[in-house]
């Protein structure tokens, strides 16, 4: 399973919504329950899933889900 699918699973779990389908331009404006607390849950769950660590500066610089996926690939070396 690639990074996008694994991340999509995290989103579905955090928001308890199996209908979520990620797209690159997706932002917090696209998911009603995406608030500061669920945002932290997404970051922490992603750290655990991909066995990596994020720093606040790089997370804050992300503009959308596509950039988040790209950052995960860059940090982990996963290319799917």
């Amino acid at each position: 399973m690639g990074v996008r699918d694994r991340l999509q699973g995290i989103f579905r779990d955090v928001f308890d919504d199996d209908s979520i389908v990620l797209f690159d331009a997706m932002t917090a404006n696209d998911i009603a329950d995406w608030d500061s607390l669920t945002h932290i849950s997404l970051v922490v769950a992603s750290e655990k899933e991909f066995k990596t660590r994020f720093i606040l500066k790089e997370v804050k610089a992300l503009k959308n889900v596509g950039e988040f996926i790209a950052m995960i690939r860059q940090k982990t070396g996963l290319d799917e």
Partner: protein
């Protein structure tokens, strides 16, 4: 009260304390929450249901996790973000409870600590378990 900052926390760090929930506290919680179930309020009813005494409200027991993070680990700078609790066995008024928690994950980006916590009876029996997510202001 402890005043641990995020940079003073480490994996495996833990805190423990003893607590007793009295029958009066059960009555007060019932009045506060409005949960007047006879399981909590009527000893005869609770005994007939197979318990040895009135059963302490689960959320009253779980409130000890608030004490755990707000007073002990990390203390003053804590803000409880999330709690996932399981109620394994009934808690009865007057028994001595062992409340404890251990840090299992630290998220540097948002200064959030994850704590695996439990409430045990004096005989070591697991009564309540929980995963707590705690943000720190500093």
């Amino acid at each position: 009260m402890n005043e641990l900052r995020f940079d003073q926390l480490s994996l495996g760090m833990r805190a423990d304390f003893d607590a007793v929930i009295s029958a009066t506290m059960v009555d007060q919680f019932a009045a506060l929450s409005g949960d007047l179930s006879p399981l909590h309020m009527d000893k005869d009813f609770a005994v007939a249901a197979g318990h040895k005494d009135r059963v302490v409200h689960g959320l009253l027991s779980a409130s000890l996790f608030s004490t755990l993070v707000g007073v002990h680990l990390p203390g003053k700078h804590a803000l409880l973000h999330e709690i996932k609790a399981g109620f394994h066995n009934p808690v009865y008024p007057g028994e001595t409870l062992k409340v404890g928690g251990e840090i299992t994950y630290l998220n540097d980006a948002y200064k959030q600590a994850e704590i695996k916590a439990s409430i045990l009876g004096s005989d070591g029996k697991k009564l309540v378990s929980a995963i707590l997510k705690v943000g720190l202001a500093v």
